[in-house]
Subunit: 456 residues, 2 copies
């Protein structure tokens, strides 16, 4: 397959600047639509538009559009008439078409749909638009091979041949009854090896893995991974075949979901990528940083009430970062395990009680090790009032580790119960909360110790 | 499809305790191997072994084994003879067989391989074992349909029918020349719609996307996602078809890789899951917590040298958590963007200079906003020496944000260059380093300000 490298992109940019259409066409000829999309993504918008218009095949243009990121696609479509967009949609698979329409501004959608020439395609798209984006119905397409269970194998092959004309990739052959209810799947292997006299219903695999149109996307992804599927039928509430979900869309979902979780855990509030503009990157980062600043200010207020104790025993001040940091780290670990368990299906609300119990034990083990280590360290290195400092620091650490672990476990579980993305509870949120709580515990403990042990 | 729920697991556990084989067999009959594996995973080991032995079909046993996690599989295989394991391997696809053998202890591998009855299967496995696990060769299997380019369509269908007997799922039909070099792919659609008189080489798709046996797994995953593939041919250094990689294996890789990155970002040092034992969970968490403690101790040493200044202006102590926390947050954000960009292919070492430039600008923007906000806050709320405190805190924050962003960008890029997993540089590592550096900057700045502005 023809490939391209950094050098080629520079050449194309140069050709675009010179408006050398012939040269640029030769450079991109024979490239896969995904590769052309990548080149467009790396070019300045004006050059990208120019190169895009060099493609003379409308189908290739439509393919390239679908390979772009949502943002780049938006920019490119903004310069186009609804009529042109309608033509592209005519050529797309229905699932891609629906995605594209949903990305348009609400007022443009109607007009674009009016410009889809193929009435059947338009009807399928209007139907698909009814489904929630985060369900199987929102992910499925209607391009698939569907045969009646009563056909014989030769009839089935004729029927396939007829339907195949409108379908780009064939994954499965779905078998339905006279009412359109899904009855089975005919694997390609069976189609090749079954004796030609057989009726489909006698050689098909009955009871295939399927989902309903309202199944959440995360559950669809878990099924694909669990059963190693490449495509899966979607049925309506009375079992009629409604569409098909293919593995490429699921893989995109898995990647997007894990990137989203990872970003939330890292304090990035919206979807950003390494190539995004300075402004987009700042927008994604500043909110969490400002929340962190508020956390820091709350900490300063807590410590403001602690000034007398610090005046009395300055050594207490030097362990402040240790307490908050440990609480933050412990909380992030606990929440990460819960979020990941919920994402990969290992954990659900039904078996969460065991997880909480396990976490309490883990917290105890960690707390014992950490507070012992730190207690010894303080005793060995401090001179002034070392009992007060060592006991305050070690007992605060113990309490912080226990609190932060339980808090880090419960918050994502609670969010899941409230149907909010539990990944929101990872990273900075847990870090900052535990930092503040840790400091409160420390201030409380050391004030108590000071009063108890020295009478200050 | 038959499904199971929490209730069923309790019933099976109960039946196992009673050794009621008939009842347990009825419970698991008709379940998918992946579901049986999930039930085994949730049962105590002894019960799991008992249920596993109720399966009387060796092929079903082999399928269930491959659906288990590596750890659970190990436990189950430990109780078996090499001969029995050899029988299972006979029935597995070669890629799964190789995975299973690689999980065995070195000394057991030879013996198990001796017990594979099918000589062809054994030969393929021995060949596949030569490849590095992290390359396309280590991921591929040898089960695929391979036809000569000079066949006619009817000959091709006969050949497929012959080969299909040994292959469970058919994804692609690969076309090779007389020397076995990959020449093209025959999509199922073409096979159905092409006129039967055509020769394969005239209707096949030429130049299909392929990888070499030594292509790293991450690049394979990027190609699958980019080109929306369900299977991909693997060729050797002179272009001969060597095997096939299927999308289910790639999806597992993508999930595992993102889970690994997410865990590293969250301070989990080895692979843990929500269901793992208390001991495994503690083992995965304690190392990073102890590193955090060391960071905290380093901080206490830095602050120890700062006691005189704190004695002079106690207000300086109360902003300590703010400085370290912000440095940590900024660094984690920057490193997360780099790690994710490297994982999804958006960023590579060749285009990293632009990323660094962009990060410097993002850092400046964030630094200006954050230090202005905090400067105003301190000026409005502090009374004692407020110019000293406000200037120290704001200028330290400014310096910390710039440093932490650049550091967070450069460290993962450097690791990538050294071929070390860049995700190691996220989460706690960056957090702790920036916490320490932030504090150093703060101590330095405020000492300087004190001397300059007050002459203390």
């Amino acid at each position: 397959m023809k490939e391209f490298n950094e050098e080629d992109i520079k050449i194309i940019e140069h050709l675009a600047d010179e408006h050398n259409a012939e040269g640029a066409r030769a450079e991109i000829a024979g490239l896969h639509p995904a590769d052309i999309a990548e080149i467009l993504r790396r070019l300045p918008l004006r050059d990208a538009e120019w190169v895009f218009n060099l493609l003379d095949d409308t189908e290739e243009k439509a393919d390239v559009i679908m390979e772009l990121d949502e943002e780049d696609r938006k920019k490119l479509l903004e310069g186009m008439e609804p009529e042109q967009i309608g033509h592209f949609i005519d050529l797309l698979d229905t699932d891609d078409a629906v995605d594209l329409i949903q990305e348009l501004d609400k007022e443009d959608r109607e007009e674009v749909i009016q410009h889809i020439d193929d009435v059947e395609q338009a009807g399928d798209i209007v139907d698909l638009l009814q489904y929630d984006e985060d369900t199987a119905g929102g992910l499925m397409g209607t391009e698939m091979i569907e045969v009646n269970e009563n056909l014989s194998m030769p009839e089935c092959i004729d029927e396939m041949r007829r339907q195949a004309e409108e379908i780009e990739d064939i994954y499965n052959i779905y078998v339905v009854d006279d009412d359109g209810r899904l009855k089975g799947v005919l694997p390609l292997k069976t189609m090749i090896t079954a004796p030609s006299a057989s009726k489909i219903k006698h050689v098909m695999e009955r009871d295939p893995v399927s989902v309903r149109t309202d199944t959440p996307i995360e559950d669809v992804a878990i099924d694909f991974e669990k059963y190693d599927l490449v495509a899966m039928p979607v049925v309506d509430s009375i079992g009629r075949l409604a569409g098909q979900i293919t593995v490429d869309d699921v893989m995109d979902e898995v990647r997007e979901q894990s990137e989203r979780d990872y970003q939330l855990a890292s304090g990035l509030s919206s979807d950003v990528d390494a190539g995004d503009s300075v402004w987009e990157q700042t927008k994604a980062r500043l909110p969490w940083l400002l929340i962190g600043i508020i956390g820091g200010i709350v900490n300063s207020l807590i410590l403001g009430g602690f000034e007398a104790q610090i005046q009395a025993v300055t050594a207490l001040a030097i362990f402040i970062p240790l307490i908050g940091g440990t609480g933050g780290n412990v909380g992030v670990q606990a929440s990460a395990i819960v979020v990941q368990g919920l994402a990969n299906g290992r954990l659900d609300l039904k078996n969460s009680a065991r997880q909480i119990g396990r976490e309490v034990l883990v917290a105890l083990l960690n707390a014992i090790v950490i507070s012992s280590v730190v207690f010894c360290y303080v005793m060995l290195t401090q001179s002034e009032l070392r009992w007060v400092v060592a006991t305050s620091v070690a007992s605060s650490l113990f309490a912080v580790v226990i609190f932060a672990t339980i808090f880090g476990t419960l918050v994502p579980l609670t969010l899941e119960r409230l149907k909010i993305n539990p990944a929101l509870a990872t990273g900075p949120f847990i870090q900052i909360t535990n930092d503040v709580v840790g400091l409160l515990i420390y201030v409380g403990m050391s004030t108590l110790m000071l009063v108890k042990l020295t009478g200050v």
